[in-house]
């Protein structure tokens, strides 16, 4: 029987401000314990919070990027609960009136576009960290993270598979990095997701949902949602009922388990924080932020399709980060734009992934790729040889490190000399290729006979032999044509 999966995501993005949301303490990661916890962050009596303009600006930037409503007046509220890493006994958050309402995010699931609606995004402060090991029945509390600004971004339950949820999370991650409001570092907890998952029969009302916490990588998110969906379906098919609860994903066992049931659910008793007046946002502030916003990934994706004739899939890959897009534009402006897309999404990105290097640190700079693609297009080297040359460029064998960042003309002189020296030039002299073809035909009489008897496969074998004889340097189209002509005689 059919089941429909319904998923909504809540994401906490740590905002990239220098100082905390309500105090002037630093937000830098990795400092020694409690060295960045000010009197406000540790909630000493008599202190008062003062809101950081940088956090508000980042929230506005996000709202504009997702086409949301920026609420001109929003309210900070106290979310009350007790936990040792929450010194005040409440978290300052926004409840009834958040800074950002609505909006949507367009995502790519494979090569299909899909729009996910957003419910809201609100500003709040992070809690500290509890360390449970090494303290003989006690917990150690580090309050450096307490008061770090967060933007909690809540989606509508618009996703219907683990793949869609991951595609949304990746798109959101790319966006917050793109508009430079979050560093996106998931290992350091700068971008954290919780997933609300339920299942139902198509057409029926929403099923009871479970919230899965602790999804700190895209891979874990996919595994956790898949496990949870299977658990809920099996439970219902066995005549059971899903209980509303909070569950924790355990990556070691690849399972989710109960963390808090509905009966133990927290009663947060939200109320407006009397320490903070309403936040008013002027249209001047919104306009000045809007004026400085870079082209957004979706707009750029559509432009790449229009301007360079790329597929939506290729354009999406090239706009996963600003650095990749900038690299692509640098290359595509100079040479065949489709070839540039193929090389960046193919050879370059697989190398970068293999070695876990960011494109900004790629040893093959845009100038080198411009040169390489130029030499394929003008027929100097074959596409096959170009892959070897690319590897040599990557390894620094073609041009020295000092030239790697230099001008295109200087690089061209050196790189052309390398091709010459290594004898990599494409053979397009038909006399030379013809000689090699004759040798191959003489040595492979069996294949020739098979081809003449109607076996197409034999032809491919012969092409392979000729290419081998030229060490991959012949133009394959030319070899094909010449070989066909000879065999037809």
């Amino acid at each position: 029987m059919n089941w429909e999966i319904v998923i909504g995501l809540e994401t906490h993005a740590q905002l990239s401000t220098r100082s905390k949301i309500f105090s002037s303490a630093s937000t830098a990661f990795g400092a020694s314990p409690n060295s960045q916890a000010s009197a406000v962050d540790i909630a000493l009596p008599g202190v008062l919070p003062v809101l950081n303009k940088g956090a508000v600006e980042r929230a506005i930037r996000f709202g504009l990027a997702v086409g949301a409503t920026i609420n001109r007046r929003s309210i900070f509220a106290r979310k009350n609960y007790f936990y040792p890493d929450l010194p005040k006994g409440y978290q300052i958050s926004q409840y009834e009136v958040p800074v950002v309402s609505g909006g949507s995010l367009t995502i790519m699931v494979g090569d299909v576009e899909k729009t996910v609606r957003l419910t809201r995004a609100h500003l709040e402060e992070d809690a500290g960290k509890s360390l449970h090991e090494d303290f003989k029945g006690m917990s150690g509390i580090d309050l450096n993270r307490a008061g770090t600004p967060l933007l909690e971004i809540v989606s509508e339950p618009d996703m219907h598979s683990a793949e869609e949820a991951v595609a949304y999370a990746k798109a959101l991650h790319a966006l917050v990095c793109w508009i430079d409001i979050c560093d996106g570092n998931m290992q350091e907890g700068s971008f954290r997701c919780d997933a609300n998952v339920s299942v139902r029969r198509p057409g029926e009302p929403l099923g009871t949902r479970c919230e899965i916490k602790n999804l700190n990588s895209f891979r874990f998110m996919e595994q956790a949602i898949k496990f949870e969906v299977r658990r809920q379906i099996e439970l219902i098919e066995d005549g059971g009922k899903v209980a509303q609860e909070t569950r924790l994903y355990d990556p070691d066992k690849n399972e989710t388990r109960t963390m808090r049931s509905k009966e133990d659910a927290m009663d947060y008793r939200y109320f407006p924080d009397p320490d903070l007046l309403p936040l008013e946002i002027s249209s001047e502030l919104i306009k000045s932020i809007e004026a400085h916003m870079a082209e957004l990934p979706q707009a750029m994706r559509e432009r790449f399709v229009r301007q360079f004739g790329l597929s939506a899939y290729d354009a999406a890959l090239l706009t996963t980060s600003r650095d990749i897009a900038a690299y692509y534009e640098a290359v595509a402006g100079q040479v065949d734009a489709k070839l540039a897309a193929n090389w960046i999404n193919g050879e370059l990105s697989s190398r970068l992934n293999d070695q876990n290097i960011l494109i900004a640190d790629s040893p093959v700079r845009p100038e080198a790729l411009i040169w390489l693609i130029g030499r394929i297009v003008d027929g100097t080297i074959s596409g096959k040889i170009a892959k070897d040359v690319f590897r040599d460029l990557w390894d620094g064998k073609v041009v020295g490190v000092q030239q790697a960042g230099g001008s295109l003309s200087a690089l061209t002189v050196q790189a052309d000399a390398y091709i010459e020296k290594m004898g990599l030039k494409q053979i397009s002299d038909s006399g030379e290729i013809g000689k090699l073809i004759d040798q191959v035909l003489a040595a492979n009489e069996k294949s020739v006979a098979e081809y003449r008897a109607g076996k197409e496969k034999a032809f491919n074998a012969l092409v392979g032999q000729v290419m081998k004889a030229t060490k991959g340097k012949a133009n394959p189209t030319q070899v094909n044509e010449m070989l066909k002509a000879r065999l037809a005689k």
Partner: protein, 95 residues
Amino acid sequence: MALTLDDVNRIAHLARIEVEPHEAEQVLLQLSGIFGLIEEMRAVNTDGVEPMAHAQDLTLRLRADEVADTDQHRLFQTIAPQVENDLYLVPKVIE
């Protein structure tokens, strides 16, 4: 709205306040008095009045995003009951 002893115990639990059974009766009386006041206020017609989020009709002042605080954890930790490796020690709580 009539408050019950169960409500009192639940509120006490949420606030992590210990209320002995003999105190609960007293607290119930006091809280009911406060709820009585709230009931009286609710009787006022507030149709068309926008609720205030703050007692003062002002808006928030914003601070520039600059780091100005220095490390004072040694001073702060002089009043902490227990400290180890610069961490505050508390009875173990795991959620």
